[in-house]
């Protein structure tokens, strides 16, 4: 199981939950699994071509997946994935 941290803007999709669990081998796999449980979340994370949106970052533990293998970054039991979108309020 991996833990996924859901940012405030996406919580309406997860019934308000800030942390959900998923069984997944990679980030791409995790996105599909999450979309099964929380329909619509994939569209918020990925653009029309299926690529991750440029203003949404994902971290496996402390590392940004853009500097790992992107969506193909593998996951193992106990990993914590954080979804961190750019926010601009001041």
């Amino acid at each position: 199981m991996i833990k996924v941290r859901i940012p405030t803007p996406l919580r309406p999709l997860t019934k308000g939950q800030g942390e959900v669990e998923a069984q997944a081998k990679s980030i791409a796999d995790m996105i599909e699994t999450l979309n099964g449980s929380y329909p619509g979340i994939k569209d918020r994370l990925c653009d029309e071509t299926g690529e991750l949106r440029r203003f949404v970052n994902m971290y496996v533990n402390e590392e940004d997946i853009r500097f790992l293998k992107g969506k193909e970054t593998s996951l193992k039991d106990g990993d914590e994935v954080s979804i961190v979108p750019a926010i601009a309020g001041g």
Binding site: T8, G18, F55, P85, A86, G90
Partner: protein
């Protein structure tokens, strides 16, 4: 430059910290910090920088104080509703510390006025409320080689990082290459924000600014702090330099401030 008796008294609780001392206090009094936005983040940040004796503080904001600001923008008060925020802010900061200089700029920053404005300052705190300004401020800080302390918030969540590509660290575009397209997420007015969250994030900005001025502690320049007020969790993630960064990478495509920085309040 030497500290006067009243200054030694005023700042005694931080001068006795070995990391600050008299030398550090003089560094603070020589520091010139520009706050982009005198709102939710700029208010608490400005108050603590002024109280700490940061010698010159610039406030830039085009808005006037509105009653709906007072829930979080503690530079302002019921009595200053309708006044330009930068004037209201100058009054508050000067009342706390009449020894410092507070410059008020009642304007929005844009690609034409931002670099001349930056010339007068050596550090910038971004507390603006839209992506266009945030990308403009990042790019201008890069070209002007100014350290930028960036914080932002949304509902119950805050982010903070220090940006100093001139010292080899990543820029804001290394973190988020592009702003979201307009209309994808609700705008500032619709989203709402916890007032005390603004306080937390603005004060963290002030704390990081003081550390950068004094050159003490660990920099946030290669980290991003994420604060979740509802769960009371602080997380830090690594923030690497993007070799493909369009601004600070080895083959930049942004070489001046001529990009499109259309101001919207949409995130």
């Amino acid at each position: 430059m030497e500290l006067t008796e009243p200054q030694i008294q005023r700042y005694s609780r931080q001068i006795i910290l070995s990391e600050v001392g008299g030398k550090g206090q003089i560094k603070l009094s020589k520091a010139k910090v520009l706050l982009i936005g005198a709102g939710g983040l700029g208010s608490p940040a400005g108050l603590y920088l002024a109280a700490a004796g940061v010698g010159t503080i610039g406030l830039v904001d085009g808005d006037v104080v509105d009653l709906s600001n007072l829930q979080r923008q503690i530079l302002h008060s019921t009595a200053t509703v309708g006044m330009p925020k930068v004037e209201s802010g100058r009054k508050t900061l000067t009342a706390i510390n009449p020894e410092i200089t507070v410059n008020a700029y009642h304007q929005l920053v844009d690609a034409d006025n931002i670099l001349p404005l930056f010339k007068e300052y050596d550090m910038v705190l971004d507390g603006s409320d839209n992506f266009s300004t945030r990308f403009l401020v990042n790019d201008a800080c890069f070209f002007a080689k100014k350290t930028l302390i960036s914080a932002s918030m949304f509902r119950f969540e805050g982010q903070l990082t220090t940006i100093k590509p001139h010292a080899g660290y990543p820029c804001y575009r290394c973190l988020y290459p592009e702003p979201p397209p307009a209309g994808l997420v609700p705008n500032c007015q619709e989203a709402g924000v916890l007032g005390a969250l603004a306080g937390t994030m603005g004060i963290l900005q002030a704390s990081e600014a003081i550390k950068e001025i004094l050159g003490i502690g660990e920099t946030m320049a290669d980290r991003l702090l994420i604060y979740d007020a509802l769960e009371m969790k602080f997380r830090k993630v690594r923030r690497p330099k993007d070799p493909a960064c369009r601004l600070c990478g080895p083959a930049p495509t942004i070489t001046n401030l001529n990009s499109d920085y259309t101001v919207t309040c949409t995130i």
